[in-house]
Every structure is written in structure tokens, then in C-alpha cells.
Amino acid sequence: MKRLLLQLLLLAFGISVAYAQQEPIRGKVLDPNGHPVPGATVSLKNSRITTTTDAEGNFQIQPGKSKTPVLIVTSVGYEESDVNVTSGGSISVNMKPVSKSMNDVVVIGYGTQRKVTLTGATASVGATEIAKRPIVRVEEALQGTAPGVAVESTSGMPGTPLAVRIRGTNSLTGSNEPLYVIDGFIGGNIESVPASDIESLEILKDAAATAIYGSRGSNGVVMITTKSGRSGKARIDFNFWEQNNQIPKELSLMNALQFATVVNQQDAELGQAPGFTQAQLDGFQTNPGTNWQKALQRKPWVNDYNLTISGGTEWVNYLFSLDHLDQPGMILNQYYRRTTFRSNVGIKVNDRMNLQFNVAAVIPESRNNGYQGDITDPFAQAYQWDPTSPIKDSNGNYIMRSAFASNGTNPVAQANNSLNDANSTDITGTGRLTYRLLKGLTFTSDNYYEINNNQQLTLNGPLTSAGLVGEDYAATNNGKSWNFQNSNFLTYHGNWSGHSLTLTAVYEQTNGEASNTNARSNNLSTYALGYYNLGLGATQIISSGYSSSSTQSYVGRLSYSYKDRYLLSASIRDDGSSHLVKKYSTFPSVGLGWNIAREKWLENSRFISTLKVRGSWGIAGNQAVPAYSSIPTIGVGGIENAAAYYYDGKTPSVYTPLGSPVSTTLKWEDDEQVDGGIDAGFWGDRVTLSLDVYHKHVSNLLYNLPTPYWAGGGNHEANIGNLENQGIEFGIGATPVQIHKFKWNLYYNMSFNTNKVLSLSGLDNIIVNNIGSAQTGVSILKVGKPVGEFYGYDFLGTWKTSEAAAAAKYNNKPGDSRYLDVNNDGSITGSDEVPIGNGLPKYTFGLSNDLSYGDWNLSFLFQGTHGNQIYSGTFPYMFGDQGDARNATTTEILNTWTPTNQTNIPTVSPSSQNYINSSRWVYNASYIKLRNINLTYHVPDHFVSRAKIRSLEFYVSGQNLWTITKYPGYDPEVSNQTNGITQGLETGMIPNPRTYTFGVRLGL
């Protein structure tokens, strides 16, 4: 079999093999594109002779005494290549990149494993995949690329994390984000890893893979491995891209004349005096008024610079990288900047001992990128504001308010004058020792220490919404934290007569502390110093906080395989945590696999090259209980903004309210998962298929249950119920064309997931108090329904003239909103509210194509969701019905119901309830996006090598260039979700940009 494979390899890559007695063997190592591979290790089999290739990939090596010398060529990122030297002359070794081959080694928790022996459901994204697009955050690299992984960019604000869901929504109010493990550091800061630092991403999906992380594994795990230097001469890589960002869509809003006309019509309907005089209306004939969307929005240039220097010797390898991102926002006065630094140094002390020292630092800095999506945000005010009002008056002063606009503040003034600045420094140091104690037995000690200092500076001076009501203030929050992780493990690996056994035992401890100091100063006597001197305030409010956490864990794992055919893995983790009263919980898992293609009767098949069936069971947890949840506390201040009580109206008296009662029986959420999967490859893996079916049952669901007001109000953490996720996911890869210089790869993946709430501690449902001022009580948790069902009245359009009699029963008249009277009691009351939609997609999919012709490469990625809906808080406000919006701004209001044009857009009348939570505001949010398209030109090496350039690439790319959707808002992808329940709720979120990028990658 091995020989056959080797011959196939030789055939496939056309290795010409040379033989020469005693003459040094000369050769060149090339990648599949014919580019040289520098720094590759070339050694003579059964000898200690070894060398490395130079910058041009050339090597020469003494052949030794063997008559049939065999060279072993290795290089990071490529498969090992064994070459029989049979003839003289220069030989050329074509390396095959590590790819979907079954010989890959993949990173798993506390070690690595050959992919062929994996029993869990995992997916990988490699560095070459990541390099295909300009990526700002790590999560983007996961988007559309792996089955079972749904990535939503829920806001177009610079520097915002993306929402990543691996196999559905598992937690109500706890995090649904996967656990990120960076080079072994659990919960490491992914902001510190720019895309160009990533060697590979491994996504662990089923319990056989995630249970090793115990109480933190239930949302899936993303393992990030950063790059390290390769032995050889220093390599310098410089990457740069420049990108233009644009809001892809403008909502259709009325001009001044249309707006004023509609205001007057509605005044007439309500029996009020007209808001605008005829003279004003005449003026608007020529003056279209202010386009607030345009006034607020910008088309910024974003750029990123990255410099990496790497290299090494046999004993030391190093990599230093420096990255700077400058990302201004698409609205006024908003930015995110990030500088990262990384130093990865590996030392081979001797044959037994290896040391690794990594330092990673990130310094993010941002302004006004904390908008949560509320109706009072400038972005939301811009589509509600009165178009008849200029931005500034004739003296150049902002017109802060308008009688016809929303109750908020002039959005341009607010955006320019309200500052919310944040900056932080986050440094992680890693020290790793690996020591081979005996043959097959290795001891590893991983130590991580992360420190973080952060600062938030807020200024809401006179020309802001707070300033207008006399609540102007400046504030500074300073926080500091550290986290420590110490993982020690023994790994035994043994092989005998086809049996392969790996045993791992881990002791791990973590602890951390966080503290903060907050100072706020109200009514400053002058704002000339901004937020830099809080001593100027009439009232000064100070608070501070502290928390600490610690965990202690014991892990054991067994992996066994026989001839790579029959696979077994089992693990158990006992996690102790300071957050719980009952400290320890146990998380077991078992996985089985059968590599059918390795059976004798199939191993010579030309059709089937890979066939593996897998099955696994296990339990992972979600650590969604914050520190001190089980300890009742007495607050210091904290009742709204009151700094104190004032018995004489002036002198502050400190107050200490008793918090609400807490539960002392809290447990982690337990996620029990069963998975069955199949991996198949055909025609030498030219076509691959991976399919998984899973069922997840989450018990002890944590919810911040409302505490009755007679018991102090607020909320308390409680384990309230169960839910399930089940689904099917598959990925199909193929290379349909591979002729000469032309190659076409495609990869399609699709994931179906259904989610259902199974129980809520005896309750039938819980109505959720939502987020933002535009959305209260829009969500419901209901047994038998998916998490976060939208909740409200079923909107049936308008009452038509022919239905006047029926309308009258509901105190309505024709033109008024009509709702379904569910219980048929003749009035629309709270009991007529029903589930009206859901933000969870039925399925998500991604299709990537990669076409290369010689030095050109074109890749594009389509990605989409289907079956999800959005509950919009944006549209009701644009219809100006009620709430804080005073008048409609959308042009759709021009099509309001009239007796002669009986549309389904209700009139504004005192008897019409237009603004209540209803299905009127639920929209289909399925979409297909051309997420990315990228064209790269690799300048032929012989052009640039004279200038001592190793490689040079130019590329252009575009993101979100094209979207198919029925959603009428800005972007079907954005939402204000803060947890699993609020998925699909949208109010005033900034959409994802359409981007145009130009980039250069230079290697020296």
C-alpha cells in the first residue's frame, strides 16, 4: 500500500529521480505552483546527514554510503516527501501542501492527532484559505467555510465581534460564542490575533472533540494555532491593504416637501392645526431639505499593514509580527484602530527538551463604536429626523431639536459631540516546556499569563442629548485584569503490531482577577478640557469593583486505533469552579470510528479513496454563571443614576440597597450531544464529502429569571429548563477541472439546524424584556418553539371600507390597523398576542470557488441563510406612528390607506393602534451574499528575484458586493442580539459595509 502510494505520488508530481555515486545530490524543492520552498529540511534516510534549502529552494546533500539513497524532505505546511534517488543530475522535489489529506496532523485539545484517527466532528481552515480575503477579525475567516458554523456580522461598526454559532443556539442568556483556544490558552483574546498570524483554525463541533474542554466546551471550540518560524534564512513578509467601505444601501426617505405635506395631512386627520404654513410648503418646492442619511454617513478608507520577520536554525525558530489596522466607521466621528505585536520563539534545547516562548500584545483604540442599536443612536435618528430642518442655523449653530423630528437629538450634532472613547493594552505571555521522559512518554507544561489594562472615556457635553436636559457629564472608567493558566500533561504514545495508543493526563488550574474604578462628574463648569479633568464637575460620583475566579481541572483521555481502521477515543474531565456552590462537575465523552477505506477489500479501490464512519457521545458544559452569582450582595449606590440620597436636596448620603435573593443551587448548562458522521473521498479525494447528523440536548438552561418585585425586583440566575438542537450538515469539495495551468476547486457546505425549547421549569412561556427603547416584550420563550420567538399581535392589514361594521366592534374605523382577535372576544388585548416569527435560520450555506490559471487566482465566496426573520424596530419609527418618533419619514407613508386607495398601510388616527408589537414589523431576512471576490496576481518569480524579492502578489477584492434578499431594511444580517433570545431583533444597527480592496503581499 505504501509503495503504491509512493508511486502514485511520483507519478502525480512527476518527480524525476536521480542517482549519483558520491557526488553531492543537488536539487530544488518546489511547491505545487512551481515556486521554490525555502527552509525545507532535506535529510538522508537512515543517517544523520541533514541540510536545508536556500531562498531559491535549492539544496545539496552528501549521499552517504547507501546505493539507493532516500531523501526525506519536510517543511511546515507540506507533507513529508520521500524521494528515491536513482539517477544523477539535479532533482526536483514537488511538495504537496498539507490539505485534506488523511495524513494530516490536526491540533486537538492538549495535543495533536492524525486526522485519519479522529473520531470527532471537526473542520479546519488553513492559512492559505485565510489569505484569500482581507480579514479584520478572526471570526470572518470562519464565515461560509465550514459546515455547522454560522457566522453573522451583526453590525457594520468598526471593531465589532461577529456572532459565531456552532450547531445552533445552546444557551438563552449565556454566551453562544464558541470557546477560542489560542495555542492552548483557553479563552484567549482573539483580538490579539490578526489574520496573517494564523497558521490554522480547527473547529471542534461534537462532544467527542469538545468535552475535553469540559464546562467551557458546549458551544464548540475554535482552536487557533499561530505561525512559527521555519529554519532557514530570515524571511520578511510585508502585507498591506487599503479598502474603501460604503454603506450599501440608502433607505427611501421623504424630502422636505413630501414630509411637510404628510405632516399637514395627519394634523388634519387628527383635527389639529397644520404644522407647516403654505409659505413653508412653497419654499420646499425648491429646497429638498436635509438628507440626514447622507449628512451622517461617510465612505472611509480602511487600511492594514503587517510586517512579519521569521526564520530559524535547527535549534531555534522565531517569528515576529507587527500589524496595524486603521478602520474609520461609516458614520461621523467613529473609528477602531488596532496594533498587534507577536513574538513566537521556539528553542530545541536537546533531543529531549523543547521550549516555546510567545508574547502577543494588542492595543485597540476606538471612538463611538459601542452603539448597541437603539432608537436614540445617531444612526437611528438619521432616518427619523425632520428633513425640513437644516443641520445648523444661519449662525452656524446646531439646531439641536425640531418640533417635527423624533424626541432625540440632531444626529449630526450628537455624533460629533458625544464621545465614547476606549483603549486598552492586552499582553499574553506563553511559556511551554515539553520534555520526553521516556520513549513515548512526554511531559508538557503550558503556562499563560495575560494582563489587560483598559480605559473608557465618556463625554456628553452641552450639545448632546444629555446636555440638552441638563444631564451633561464626563466619565472615566479604568479597569485592570489578569488571568493565569497552568496546564500540565503527560502524554504516552505507543505503537505495537498495528495497535496505536495515546494516553493523556492533564492537571490544569486557572485563576484571574479583575478590578475597576469608575469616576463620573456631572455638570462640568467648563467642557474646555473634555473628559481629562473630572474635578470640574458639580457632582462627582465614584465607584469601584473587584472580582476573582479560579478553576481546577483533571482530564484523562485515551485514543486507540488498530491499523488506522478501528478507532476509539474516550475522555473525561472533572472541572471545579469557584463560581458554583457545588464546585465540581464531570464531563465524559466517547467516540468510535471505522476507516472502511483502509480495509483490505477496499484499499485498492480506484473509486473510493476515503471512507470513514464516526459516532460519538459526550457532555460538555457552558460556564454561563458569573462570579458571585450565589452570594447575595448589598450594593453601593446603583439605583438608576442616583449617586446618593439627599435629605436636604443638597447633601449626599451614601446608600446601600440589598440585592435580590440569589439561587444557591446553580449548575453549569450541560450539553449532551450525539453525533454520527461520514467522511468520504472519491477518485483520490478529488471529490470529498463530509456529513454529520447530530442531536444536542441542553439541560439546566440558565436564565436570568425576573425576580418578583415583592422580593426586590431585578433578576436572578436560575437553571430553568431544557432545549434541543438537531441538525444535518455537510460539505462537498471537488476539483472539477485540473488541466495544465488551470485548476478549479469548489467547496459547498450546508447546515440545517432546528432548535426547540423543551421545558421552562413548569412554565409554558416567558415573555422577555428586550433590548433598546424600541423593543420591549418582543420575544417569548415558549415550550415547543425555538428560542427567541418574536411575540406580538398578528397584523392583518387595514380595515377596508366594506368592513366598517366589523371594525366598529373594535372601536376602529376603515383605514385603521387590523389585528387577529385570537380568542375572538371582540377586543384586542394582551391575550391576543402570539408567536409571530423567529430569527433563527432553517439552514445556512456557503459556496466557495477557487480558480487559478498560472499566476492568476480568482476566488469567490457566496454565503447565505434561509428561513430566518427580522423583527424590525427601525420601520415602526420610520412610519412615525408613535413612540418617540413624531412623524413618518419613509416614502412608504405616501401610500397610506385612503378610501380610494385601500392599501395595507394604516392611517394615523387616534383609533388606530399602529405601533404595538405585531407581525407588521416581521420581515423575511433570508439572503445570499457575494461575501467575497478576490483576484490575485502572483508576479512571476524570475521577474522579481533579481531585486532579491522572494515573492510578490497584488490583489483586488470586494466584499458584500451583491446581496439577494427580500428584506427592505439596510442589511438582513445585522441585529442587536445580545443573547440567544434576541437573535433577529433589529433597531438602528449600522449595516455591513460594501468594500473594495487593493492589497500587496511582498516576501523578501
Binding site: 392645526a273 440620597y645 446608600y655 415583592w710 422580593a711
Partner: protein, 510 residues
């Protein structure tokens, strides 16, 4: 050193670092186990009970009167985002009203903190007097809160213990709630000092008596209907009057533009720059049609019904109570128009007494204006919100004494003090007890127009809905209630807490 020992050193280091201790110590948080050591601890716990009443979501905003819009002294905008007020104005409120939740949340939160004080004040190492005076305030505040809850919502659970998350108390009878209120107020009277020099915001002995008088008077009416309490109401009020501690401010309007006047018995204190703004004066009471020279505008939250205004006695108090000439900015120029001008969108008079807020050097921190120009309309003021003013004691006394064998000369004297200050003639002598009571109730309506639902609670205890509906102008928001009128004397328990315990039964009609 032999390198093979290095891993053992690591292992040793790990063991030396020790097994993690998994116990929790929230160093920055006070916990009940270690609190309540000193008098200062206790004082801060008492201050929490007061503070719980001040936010927007408690009594700091107009929403504290949501269920009281059914009375004739309160109505709201026909169209704007006042749906909750409007629904109750139309006697068609529902349990989802978020403003109603504030009426529920504020007093419960205060009572929760007060109970915490009462369960722990004995543990404090301090003098008996100091401890008792703090306990007295807690008794007062708990009674104050329950009195509010029982009048708005009817039966509510009496929670005099520290609850835990699994407790599910049922709604207790109205009588049981009143028992708690009366007993708490008697404790407050026993413990509280007559005055708190320099701290006018603290409850005093006479504040407790004044409140108890009002409680007894309410107990004579619906739903307890125990007329035996008239005498006790009169006795408590009489004690307060005879103390000579309070006098009426000569000018009615001054009461609403100054803090802690000579007739203030108990009020909530606010401080805008301290993050505790009062937000019922100022913009909330100002017409939407009005805007200040600085672009600030009114919110149109609450104003009197038309016939309530038209039927008001012709006196200086009415002129100072109502705002009936609006200052509209027409083409940039302030123009005075009458309340019923078609240029106004609501066609209603407004409240003048709630506009200015706290006036300092002639300038209000709510609406800052003169006769012709509005400079600014601010929603946040420093004005104390008076809950018990001396006229309430006088009128409680007048009614209670009249109904328990009167009216006596003292009954007349009490009401006529209020009428004299209002600029009204004395009541004609020789009225029957019930005619006298009617006069007192009318007097209360106008003396306390728009204040904390005083009028509505009179409507409830005396079952006046049919009368006030009959008197309602056709220009008001139409009554949309289709159910039983009798059910409308109570507000529904907010859906929030109905959902927390499915075994609770909602008030009839909701």
C-alpha cells in the same frame, strides 16, 4: 543541574502553587453576613429605601400616577406615545402597560429595603435611640409603600421577611395589608423624632401621624368601608394640627416652586446633578405645542380634563393651578393663544403649578419663562415631590371629624383655612355631614389637582366613577371601557409579576 530534573521542578512548582482554592470572596461587595455592624451601615440601608422611590421607574416621573388617569384631574395626549396613560384615562388599562409597572416597582422596591432594615437594625452596635429612629423611618416607608400598593392594586402579599428565590407568597387580603400599614405607622410614631434638623427629607413622627390619618380615612371607604375609623382619622390629624409644627404658605403657587416649605410634611428629595432628577415637573407637564427659545419642547404627558378646569372655583388658587394661555412659537414669534384655540393640537388647559419646578432667583429649573417668552423647557428638576402637605391633614381632619359626629366648628375651621389660602370664601355653615364631606372632597380635588393621584384615590374610596364619567366632556379621549365599571377602581397586577407566579389570580376585569 541535570536537565532531566527540569520537568520535575515544573511539577514541583505547580504543586507549590498549590491546588486552587475555589471559594469565593467578593472583596468589593458588601454581603448580608458581614453588614449591619455600625450605625453608618444602618443609615445607608435606610437611605436605600428612600432612594428606591426616586427613579423614573418609581415615583420620580409622571408614570407614578398611571392608574390615576381615570380621574378628572388627569388626562393625556390623544395620539402620542402616551398609550398607557391614555388607556387608563379611557378606563381601559391593561396589565402590560410599562408605565403601570413603575407604580408597582417603586413602592415594592422601597418596602423591600425597609424590611431589610427592620430585620437587621437590632444587630447594629449603636444607641437604642439612633437604631429606633432608623427603624422608625423604615416602618414609615414600608407603610407608605404598602398604602400606595393596596390602593392601586388591592390585595398584595404582605412580605415582612427576607424572601428567597423559591418563595411564592399569595396575595393577602386588603384588610391584612391595612393591618400591616397601621401597625407599621404606629411603630413609626413611637420611634420617630418630631423633627430632623437640617434633614427635611426624613420622615418625622408627625409625618407618620399625618399618613396614618389619611390611611384611617381611606379605610372608612371602599373597599373596607369601616366607618368606625373616622374618629381615629380625626384624632391623628388633630394631633398633627395641634402640634403647631406646620403652617400654610400664604401663596399657593410658592408651594410648587420652593422646596420643603412650612406646609411640607413629607416629600421625596431630588438632585439633578446627583443623578436623581425629579421629572414630573417641567417638560412632562408642558404642552407639546410649546417650545423654548433654545429648541427644547414639552412632552404633553398630563393635564386636567376640560370640565374639571371649567368647574374649578373662581379663586387665586385656580389661576395658579391652571395654565390656560399657551405661548406658541408661530413663525418664530411667541404668540399667546387660549387653550381651546384650534392652533393647539390638544385643545386642553394645562397645569401651571407643575411648570417651573424649583425656582431660584425667579428662574425655574423646569420651564424657564416669563409672560411672553419661554426660554427653556427642561424635563429634569430639583423640585421636592410633596406627598403629604399640611392641607391634606386639615382636610382629612375636616372630613373625618364631620363624619364622626360633626361637622363641628373645628371641622369648618380646618377646611376654611385651606379655602382662605386658596382665595375662596368660607363654607356656608349648617351643612349636613354628607354635604360637608362632598365639599371637602371637591376641595381636595382642586387643592391637590394633579398631585400623586389624591383625586383618583378619593374617586376610588367614595366610588365616584359614575359621577365623573357623567361630567366628562365629549372632547376628552372617549371612554373605551366595555367591561364592568366596578372593576376599574383597581389597576391590574402588572403582567411582569403575574408571570412570576401562575397561581396569582388577576384582578377582575383584566
Amino acid at each position: 543541574m541535570k536537565q532531566k530534573y527540569i520537568p520535575f521542578l515544573f511539577l514541583l512548582g505547580t504543586l507549590a502553587a498549590g491546588c486552587q482554592k475555589l471559594n469565593e470572596d467578593p472583596k468589593a461587595s458588601l454581603t448580608p453576613g458581614t453588614y449591619f455592624q455600625t450605625q453608618a451601615d444602618l443609615d445607608a440601608a435606610v437611605a436605600a429605601a428612600y432612594t428606591e422611590l426616586t427613579p423614573d421607574y418609581a415615583f420620580g416621573f409622571t408614570s407614578r400616577m398611571t392608574s390615576c388617569f381615570g380621574a378628572d384631574d388627569l388626562t393625556t395626549d390623544p395620539a402620542l406615545n402616551k398609550g398607557d396613560y391614555r388607556a387608563f384615562d379611557e378606563l381601559n388599562g391593561n396589565d402590560n402597560a410599562s408605565n403601570l409597572l413603575n407604580q408597582w416597582q417603586g413602592p415594592w422596591s422601597c418596602a423591600y429595603q425597609a424590611t431589610n432594615v427592620l430585620l437587621n437594625y437590632q444587630h447594629v452596635n449603636s444607641t437604642e435611640t439612633a437604631k429606633n429612629q432608623d427603624a422608625g423611618q423604615a416602618y414609615f416607608l414600608r407603610a407608605f409603600s404598602y398604602y400606595y400598593l393596596v390602593r392601586v392594586f388591592g390585595p398584595v402579599p404582605v412580605v415582612t421577611y427576607q424572601p428567597n428565590t423559591s418563595d411564592l407568597p399569595q396575595r393577602d387580603s386588603v384588610a391584612k395589608v391595612y393591618n400591616l400599614i397601621v401597625s407599621d405607622l404606629n411603630m413609626a410614631i413611637a420611634y420617630l423624632p418630631p423633627t430632623w434638623p437640617g434633614q427635611p427629607g426624613k420622615a418625622t413622627q408627625n409625618a407618620a401621624r399625618a399618613l396614618l390619618a389619611d390611611v384611617y380615612l381611606t379605610m372608612t371607604g371602599y373597599p373596607l368601608n369601616q366607618s368606625s375609623y373616622y374618629a381615629q382619622a380625626a384624632a391623628e390629624a388633630d394631633t398633627v394640627i395641634n402640634s403647631g409644627q406646620y403652617t400654610l404658605v400664604p401663596d399657593y403657587l410658592t408651594v410648587f416652586q420652593t422646596n420643603n416649605s412650612t406646609e411640607s410634611i413629607f416629600g421625596l428629595q431630588f438632585n439633578v446633578s446627583g443623578g436623581a432628577p425629579e421629572r414630573s415637573y417641567g417638560a412632562s407637564a408642558t404642552p407639546l405645542d410649546e417650545s423654548g427659545a433654545d429648541g427644547t419642547g414639552g412632552w404633553d404627558d398630563y393635564y386636567p380634563e376640560i370640565n374639571f378646569y371649567l368647574n374649578a372655583p373662581n379663586c387665586i388658587r385656580s389661576k395658579e393651578t391652571f395654565y390656560d394661555t399657551l405661548k406658541l412659537k408661530i413663525n418664530g414669534v411667541f404668540t399667546r393663544v387660549p387653550w381651546n384655540s384650534p392652533l393647539t393640537h390638544a385643545g386642553h388647559p394645562y397645569y401651571k403649578k407643575f411648570r417651573a419646578g424649583l425656582v431660584t432667583n425667579g428662574v425655574g429649573d423646569g420651564v424657564s419663562e416669563n409672560d411672553s417668552v419661554i426660554l427653556s423647557i427642561q424635563p429634569s428638576t430639583n423640585k421636592v415631590m410633596d406627598f403629604i402637605r399640611y392641607p391634606m391633614v386639615l382636610l382629612d381632619y375636616a372630613e373625618a371629624s364631620a363624619m364622626s359626629g360633626g361637622p363641628t366648628a373645628a371641622s369648618y375651621s380646618a377646611i376654611n383655612m385651606v379655602r382662605a389660602r386658596a382665595g375662596e370664601p368660607p363654607l356656608p355653615p349648617g351643612l349636613s355631614a354628607t354635604a360637608f364631606q362632598d365639599s371637602v372632597v371637591t376641595e381636595r380635588g382642586y387643592e391637590f389637582a394633579g398631585e400623586n393621584g389624591v383625586r383618583w384615590f378619593d374617586v376610588v374610596r367614595l366610588q365616584l366613577l359614575p359621577q365623573i364619567i357623567a361630567a366628562r366632556s365629549s372632547l376628552e379621549n372617549p371612554i373605551t371601557n366595555t367591561g364592568n365599571l366596578q372593576d376599574k377602581y383597581l389597576a391590574p397586577i402588572p403582567a411582569y409579576d403575574m408571570a412570576n407566579d401562575p397561581s396569582w389570580v388577576q384582578n377582575s376585569g383584566y
